[in-house]
């Protein structure tokens, strides 16, 4: 079946089964590999993208449910690493292996939309969907606070 998708402001048509997870459409059909496969069951957050500005797990979102909506992946967050979260991530040297970081950054960007000046409890609550096996958590926390400062000028 053909599905029309809006990803990072561009339109794409993909021919896949309706139950195909958005994750694999983004990665295999659109060739955007920044969004990662980690678990396939919405338990690690590596596949986090935004749909209409809200974070979702693309591994358990069917492609059919994303039609007509604005999908943003890590590649669409900014053109030049200029999103406050990306700036803060670079300042704090957050990533180690980096594999989970697309999902962490997308989750953090969504968190800051919801809580422009987040508390540690906000971060604990909204970032605990995302696993990091390198243990970058304390730097993630610091970078989210820093990104909030950057966003507010």
């Amino acid at each position: 079946m053909a599905f029309d998708l809006n990803v990072n402001g561009a339109s794409y048509t993909v021919d896949v089964e309706p139950e195909t997870p958005l994750l694999w459409v983004i990665r295999d059909n659109l060739g955007m590999t920044g969004t990662k496969y980690g678990c396939g069951i919405a338990k690690c957050g590596a596949c986090t993208v935004h749909i209409d500005g809200k974070k979702v797990f693309s591994c358990t979102t069917k492609v059919s449910a994303a039609v007509g909506k604005e999908i943003t992946t890590i590649e669409g967050l900014s053109e030049d690493n200029s999103h406050p979260v990306q700036i803060a991530w670079i300042e704090e040297d957050v990533p180690q292996c980096g594999y989970c970081q697309s999902g962490q950054i997308m989750a953090a960007a969504a968190l800051l939309e919801q809580h422009p000046s987040p508390s540690d409890l906000n971060i604990d609550t909204l970032m605990s969907d995302n696993i990091c096996r390198c243990g970058t958590y304390s730097r993630i926390r610091k970078a989210i606070h820093r990104a909030a400062e950057i966003a507010q000028g």
Binding site: A10, G38, R133, T136, Y137
Partner: protein, 760 residues
């Protein structure tokens, strides 16, 4: 049944569309990064001065990295080692992976041999395996030599041009100068590459470092905040198809049958292959044959399709029948019970002595003050964030492998063997690794993907699901320990006797490494390497293997041995009514390397035993990979038994530090890794198969559980160069369980912690 069934019509159609249609929307990053998105890509142009570095006319220096970037920072630290000596401008440094194919074809360069930094038989990139916490300590000399020898050649080239002696030419920040003459490294790189020196320069001593010791920004960070960094699983090759694989859930079991007809007409499905056991692949997974144990192909099946999801769906829907290969009765309980039975019988004939001082057995037998305890640690899986995968393309005269590997030369040799090609015709494209932790040293996925690609004749990306990645893990062995100590009336130990029974990695896969029945890794930190001295000491080791494949897991034997010994030392301290810190220090011999890190960790943590009920501090200590790590954990336990690890102070002595921030990051990473295992880590076996398959069952530490981690450097300097990637893992578990004892009086002797009720 045939081993290969193909739906030819669909193969042709989808093969063509995959090549044309996949690339739309492919991301091109807007920045000029110091590292390519695809880190294996060779640099175009520029002048190679030696195998490690290329200098462009614009003075950009590209430094080749022989280690694999899996988060530990080698794409920053390794170039720093070269740049320190080269004295180029760090702002102009780029990094790229060294080429394993070249390493297979070319031996160490003559200047490196002349300098004594390589043997003639070494490959040009020397040690390309990333493990054993060895990146800095085992490559720093030859990387420094590469930089120093290049620098002196640049100076000689300038000296020749200017008609002066090399001794009056300086090289700083990529600029060569002498009197009124100056020029860039780029201008003299071509001439430098042809120069022979009478003798090679000496490398710097740590007191001369300018770049090393500073925390420059990681070169890989910009690629890791926008999705640009390409991991093995992200590989895209024109014409590529996808494979989903499932192999026997019971290691050593076999696929009895499968019904490809039931799924072959599903969209995009092309083919199915039987793997191993009479199917494709030269080596079958057969525990009877040691040579097959490491990379052999487990019996199973692969389904090929034009997208991964289509391949995976067909694989999951395809009827399959399995045979447990005689292991169907095995459980984790049966494995551990067999070990505990051996542990309970000191006269079991399978014990071999690992260390012996005096006559501990006799002293204990005659004593009336005896302390005894038994500890158990479980099997663990690595849980790499990036599931296992490998992309391969095999033709009659060339094989290409794209993989997140900790050992590119081993990937290359395994692929060459499986493809039936000489090594010089195999190209390994090392990607960024979504962690490794030892798992990506094994190469079983490389053999499997190569076999599939060879049979298919097309480029194919093989991805294991998270479930397959966990079930087909190569596990950290379980281990069991019994300690008996006798003390005098004041609690001072007179004799110490430790029996260890475990699944041995060496016995399982490298039996030639066994020494007199002892697996040196299984007794790490417990034999003569024990931090504590006893007048009488006996350490005995016996093996009880199972059918599970076992492997190195970040910090290997120390990962679990430190839990056992540091817990027992704590028990001895409490039995003696002594402060656990003072008690440990009292058992350390004069000049012990453990003393200063332990004292520093205790001081920085504000060590005290005077805390309220529900609060506790605990100590953990270990030496591994040349580095001592001492840790003090501070925990709270609520009246309802809710544990919170509040903080961990880590003091390390790795001798020298080349990048303090990278070390701090590794300490944080190690603590989270060790704490995850201590709190939650446990692989169960039922009917011969691994029970845990995904993160809903195999639990990981999350941000809301993150303790504060403080790193303290207790550096002894001198000749000591220790690793940093692993040594801080082992002390975490005992620091936390000893703190739990201090807080609650509950002694945890079997991991993980979550199985214990801490409710007061």
């Amino acid at each position: 049944m045939t081993n290969f069934e193909i739906n030819r019509r669909k193969f042709i159609v989808t093969g063509a569309s995959a090549a044309g249609g996949m690339m739309l929307g492919f991301h091109i990053p807007a920045h000029a990064a110091a590292i390519m998105d695809e880190p294996w890509m060779a640099t175009d142009g520029g002048q190679e001065v030696n195998a490690w570095l290329v200098i462009d006319p614009d003075n950009t220096v590209t430094i080749r990295v022989g280690q694999s970037e899996m988060g530990e920072g080698v794409f920053t630290g390794m170039p720093m080692l070269v740049a320190e000596e080269l004295q180029c401008d760090w702002a102009n440094v780029k990094a790229v992976y060294a080429d394993a194919n070249r390493n297979a074809r070319q031996k160490a360069e003559p200047y490196m041999v002349a300098a004594g930094a390589a043997k003639e038989t070494d490959g040009v990139y020397q040690r390309m395996s990333t493990g054993g916490s060895g990146a800095v300590r085992r490559s720093r000399i030859y990387l420094a030599q590469a930089g120093a020898s290049a620098r002196e050649r640049l100076k000689q080239a300038a000296a020749n041009a200017w008609g002066v002696d090399r001794s009056v030419v300086t090289a700083e920040n990529g600029i060569l100068s002498s009197g009124g003459n100056s020029g860039t490294f780029g201008e003299f790189a071509a001439a430098a590459s042809t120069i022979q020196l009478e003798s090679e320069p000496a490398i710097k001593t740590p007191d001369q470092y300018q770049l090393l010791g500073t925390s420059v920004a990681r070169l890989d960070t910009p690629l890791k905040v926008n999705g640009a960094a390409v991991y093995g699983i992200d590989t895209q090759v024109p014409g590529m198809v996808y494979a989903a694989v499932e192999v026997s859930p019971v290691p050593g079991g076999r696929l009895v049958s499968y019904d490809f007809d039931a799924v072959k007409d599903r969209p995009g499905v092309m083919a199915a292959y039987r793997l191993g056991d009479g199917g494709i692949g030269t080596l079958n997974f057969n525990l009877e044959e040691v040579a097959n144990r490491v990379t052999g192909i487990q019996s199973g099946v692969a389904v090929i399709a034009d997208s991964y999801y289509r391949a995976l769906t067909a694989l999951q829907l395809m009827p399959k029948e399995w045979d447990a290969g005689g292991h169907g009765d095995v459980s984790d309980t049966s494995i551990i019970e067999a070990a505990l039975e051996a542990l309970a019988n000191p006269d079991d004939p399978t014990y071999n002595p690992a260390d012996s001082v005096g006559d501990a057995r006799a002293v204990i037998a005659a004593s009336s003050n005896v302390v005894e305890a038994t500890y158990v640690t479980p099997y663990l899986e690595h849980a790499c964030m990036e599931p296992m995968n490998c992309t391969a393309h095999v033709t009659a005269d060339r094989a290409d492998i794209w993989v997140s590997t900790q050992n590119p030369p081993r990937s290359l040799s395994v692929a060459a063997e499986e493809a039936g090609l000489p090594e010089e015709k195999v190209h390994v494209h090392t990607a960024f690794l979504g962690t490794g932790f030892g798992r990506r040293l094994r190469q079983d996925e490389v053999r499997q993907a190569t076999a599939i690609a060879k049979a298919l004749g097309e480029p194919v990306k093989v991805i294991w699901t998270r479930e397959e990645t966990t079930r087909q893990g190569k596990f950290r062995p379980y281990s069991t320990y019994h300690f008996t100590a006798s003390t005098d009336a004041d609690g001072k130990p007179e004799a110490y006797w430790n029996r260890i029974v475990s699944h041995s990695i060496f016995n399982h896969q490298i039996p030639q490494f066994m020494q007199d029945g002892i697996d040196g890794q299984a007794v790490e930190g417990l034999d003569e390497r024990l931090p504590y001295a006893f007048p009488n000491k006996q350490v005995d080791y016996a093996i009880r293997d199972s059918h599970l494949p076992v492997h190195w897991w970040r910090s290997v034997g120390a990962s679990q041995n430190a839990f056992a010994i540091e817990s027992f030392i704590d028990e001895l301290a409490h039995a003696a009514g002594a402060d656990p810190l003072d008690f440990r220090l009292s058992l350390m011999p004069e000049g012990s390397q453990f003393r200063r890190p332990l004292e520093m960790a205790a001081e920085e943590a504000g060590w005290t035993t005077d805390l309220r009920r529900g609060e506790g501090m605990g100590i953990g200590l270990a030496e591994a990979f040349g580095t001592v790590s001492a840790q003090v954990a501070y925990v709270t336990v609520s009246r309802r038994g809710q544990l919170r690890v509040e903080s961990i102070d880590v003091a390390i002595d790795c001798g020298h530090v080349i990048h303090p921030k990278l070390v701090e990051m590794q300490m944080e990473s190690s603590v989270v890794f060790g704490l995850t295992a201590a709190l939650y880590g446990e692989i169960h076996i039922k009917n011969g198969a691994v029970v845990e398959d995904n993160f809903d069952q195999y639990q990981m530490l999350r941000i809301n559980e993150m303790p504060e981690i403080r790193t303290h450097f207790a550096l002894s300097g001198g000749d000591k160069w220790g690793g940093v990637g692993e040594p801080a893992v082992p002390p975490v578990a005992p620091a936390v369980t000893n703190a739990i004892f201090a807080a609650t009086g509950k002694r945890i002797r079997r991991l993980p912690i979550r199985n214990h009720d801490l409710n007061a």
